[in-house]
């Protein structure tokens, strides 16, 4: 039965016209993703009218091409200019840009491309195999769980600030406060608009993002006149070429990070509204925490590129399965795709895969193929984009600033968005100059409305705060959030203070409680396993006399 469906879907997809449309979609996505201010969602929306004349399979295949291309295209501008083309490649800039500036743009881009490819392929395989289970987990989430997840995500970003955790938390809270500006979602009352009609609608996310990133990054680069007048990739302009073999080898040799980040991406994609803009940062954070060389993060670490790029491409798979299995969009792009399905009289619902197997399997196969196409097409488009590194920084800065303004305007055709870009640019630059990290602000803006809506639902159902501790997923995220917020203290004191020996066992033991509380048989068994593992670690350390290991390097989480 499954084989028949695969064969039917393949025959629908494998026409020359569909393949060409997919290639065009991938190239369009790559270009759109590479341009700061031109989001994947915008590209997919622009493609939508062209899909009316196509069959459902052709239309969806083209849109998936744009989606996958866009997710990978963001790395080009992120690595070469330091400005993420899309929010999904924000974390890629942390190490991709320093590596490119350090004279290895070809390797940085190659690592990004191959990590994207493997992330996409891994997510495609995982989704085909365990899609129903993943969808079931996402379905279990209640408002308490969502709110706890948001709190966890914010502590993660605060922990990214390392020693400046207070500044990180302040930045995250400022982001949340920015998201409250405009009409509230419950009763539509304007907040903090101070009489301005333009502000009453709130700030669009993209101008805020580009303002905070583009201005701060570009202006930091042109602050020193001598540096500004130099080439963007001064050390690499003589022989820029994408080191595919070396990059593929480097990515595969970090298979642990690759698989972990891809799974983070898939899991984040399954959660409604938690898209690749969150997964890339979460994956980066985890990669940094588990790295043997966390101090190299932010200076051009290979792991720092592998993690976000594999995660953001893997997120697409998770978002797609939510749309297909439950009719819930995982992100804005899948919401547009959902609209495309409705145009073709296909209603996504829990019975979608059973009732429309050809379309469902075609989506899986198209997603799988799009990753191969992305690999081939990005290699070509990258060659052109690498030429950007030959440009002088000040010239690129001037052109990009104009382009950002143009892209931001094109989003809603509103001039106020350009002023939003400007003011958040000023604010971001001041914050960065004062040592505040920018990433928590961004995450705060992204999560603000979701967190508020979840809290509104929580209060509407019950005002009992103990519900956060009774619900297994909520408790799971709270415990994870607490341990995550102290993780940098643990890393800093590891091999120095004896209490750190108990950190991992305690985390396993505490996390085993909510996992044990979960429904079904598998997860309680996993919970018992996790608890036993924690106990085993304690027994092992007690037997060793609770002594610190010798010659273990002291690791410190660097500031971002």
């Amino acid at each position: 039965m499954i084989f028949d469906n695969i064969m039917l879907a393949t025959s629908e997809l494998m026409s020359i016209s569909t393949m060409l449309l997919m290639i065009v979609g991938v190239v369009a996505g790559l270009i759109a993703g590479a341009i700061p201010g031109f989001t994947i969602a915008m590209a997919v929306v622009l493609v939508l009218p062209f899909t009316f004349g196509m069959t459902a399979v052709q239309g969806l295949a083209t849109m998936i091409g744009v989606y996958v291309g866009g997710l990978s295209g963001g790395l080009m501008s992120g690595i070469l200019t330091g400005i993420p083309g899309t929010p999904s490649s924000v974390a890629t800039t942390f190490d991709g840009f320093p590596m490119a500036r350090g004279g290895r743009p070809g390797l940085a881009l190659g690592i990004g491309v191959w990590a994207s490819f493997f992330g996409g392929v891994i997510s495609a395989i995982v989704l085909v195999l365990v899609a129903p289970q993943l969808a079931r987990i996402g379905q279990e989430f209640q408002p308490w769980d969502y709110f706890a997840l948001m709190a966890f995500a914010l502590t993660v970003t605060a922990s990214l600030a390392g020693d400046n955790m207070v500044k990180g938390l302040i930045a995250g809270l400022i982001g949340l406060l920015v998201a409250t500006v405009g009409e509230d979602a419950v009763v539509g009352v304007p907040r903090f608009n101070f009489g301005s009609d333009a502000v009453q609608q709130g700030f669009a996310f993209l101008p805020v993002l580009i303002g905070l990133f583009a201005f701060t990054r570009l202006l930091s680069d042109v602050q020193d006149t001598k540096k500004a007048q130099g080439n963007l990739g001064a050390h690499s302009t003589d022989s820029v070429r994408i080191e595919h073999m070396k990059a593929a080898g480097a990515v595969l040799s970090r298979w642990g990070n690759l698989i972990r980040s891809s799974l983070i991406g898939v899991f984040t994609g399954v959660l409604p509204a938690a898209g690749s803009s969150i997964s890339n940062i979460l994956a980066y954070d985890q990669a940094k925490k588990y790295s043997k060389e966390p101090e190299k993060f932010g200076t051009g670490s290979i792991d720092g590129i592998v993690a976000p790029e594999s995660a953001n491409n893997a997120t697409a798979g998770g978002a797609l399965i939510m749309m297909m299995a439950l009719g819930i969009p995982g992100d804005i792009v899948t919401a547009v795709m959902l609209g495309a399905l409705l145009i073709h009289d296909v209603v996504p619902s829990p019975t979608f895969i059973a009732e429309q197997p050809t379309i469902a399997y075609a989506i899986f196969i198209a997603f799988f193929l799009a990753n191969f196409m992305m690999l081939a097409m990005q290699s070509l488009t990258l060659r052109g984009f690498v030429a950007v590194t030959r440009v002088r920084m000040y010239m690129l800065a001037a052109v990009i600033l104009f382009y950002c303004a143009l892209g931001v305007f094109a989003l809603n055709n509103v001039q106020f968005d350009m002023w939003t870009l400007f003011w958040f640019g000023v604010g971001g630059f001041i914050m960065r100059s004062l040592g505040f990290p920018i990433v928590p602000v961004i995450l705060g803006v992204v999560l603000g409305n979701i967190a508020e809506n979840s809290l509104a639902q929580v209060i509407a159902i019950s005002t009992d705060p103990t519900m956060f501790l009774i619900r297994p997923w909520s408790l799971f995220f709270i415990i994870l959030g607490l341990f995550s917020s102290f993780f940098h203290v643990y890393q800093k004191n590891r091999a120095i203070k004896r209490w750190t020996l108990g950190f991992i066992p305690a985390m396993c033991l505490f996390l085993s409680i909510p996992v044990f509380m979960m429904e079904g048989l598998v997860r309680p068994v996993l919970g018992i396993g996790l608890g036993l593992f924690g106990l085993y670690l304690i027994v092992q350390r007690v037997r060793a006399g609770w002594k610190l290991p010798e010659a273990e390097p002291v690791m410190e989480v660097g500031d971002l």
């Binding site: 302040i170 009352v189 903090f192 010239m395 052109v399 001039q415």
Partner: protein
């Protein structure tokens, strides 16, 4: 206890802003006709939660800044030293703000040309070859981007009060050629604008 350092000033400003927003949050009122159902969250509740957190963090930040040494990067060069350090970013902001201000008067294209050229000239070398390079780069990049957005993506870019006729003329002539080429291929299917209308 340390002397007044940069972080202390920032913490105080942050707390003042938190106080201002907290005060403003009490002006957020649910309309009389929009009665909240039992258990429904008021519009000012969530901002106040955030502001409470921000206030607590602001106090911790203030305390930290008082008891710990000033940041290592903190320099005291006076107003002139500060200006020298941030000269380029300040001018970038000023030129960008000017660009946004003149858009309604000169339109996106002319304002963009002026902005990019002015910024390049300000930040880059001021010799003859650089000047020529700036002119050609500005024309190529701004013109190219205008063409993509205005003609290919059909984005209605702002027209200037003074240059409206010129903007219109450009749109008709430059984008008209693109439309003509597009219509040549129209036999294959409905045009982009037709499809947009159907949306």
């Amino acid at each position: 206890m340390n002397r007044l350092n940069r972080d202390t000033i920032v913490a105080v400003i942050l707390l003042l802003l938190v106080g201002f927003f907290a005060y403003s949050s009490f002006a957020i009122k649910t309309p009389v006709f929009e009665r909240l159902a039992p258990g429904q969250m008021g519009p000012g509740f969530w901002p106040r939660i955030i502001l409470t957190g921000l206030g607590i963090m602001g106090l911790i930040y203030l305390f930290q800044s008082i008891v710990s040494p000033p940041p290592p990067g903190e320099k005291r060069g006076g107003l002139i030293g500060w200006y020298r350090h941030y000269k380029n970013p300040i001018w970038c902001f000023a030129v960008f703000a000017a660009f946004l201000t003149i858009i309604p008067v000169l339109g996106m294209l002319i304002s963009g040309l002026i902005f990019v050229f002015a910024l390049m000239t300000m930040l880059g070398p001021k010799d003859g070859p650089a000047f020529r390079r700036h002119v050609w780069t500005t024309l190529g990049t701004v013109g190219g981007m205008w063409f993509i957005f205005a003609c290919l993506l059909e984005v209605q870019l702002p027209k200037g009060q003074l240059t409206g006729t010129f903007d219109e003329w450009l749109l008709v002539n430059v984008c008209g050629i693109v439309s003509m080429i597009g219509e040549m291929f129209a036999d294959a299917g409905p045009s982009c604008s037709t499809l947009s209308a159907r949306v």
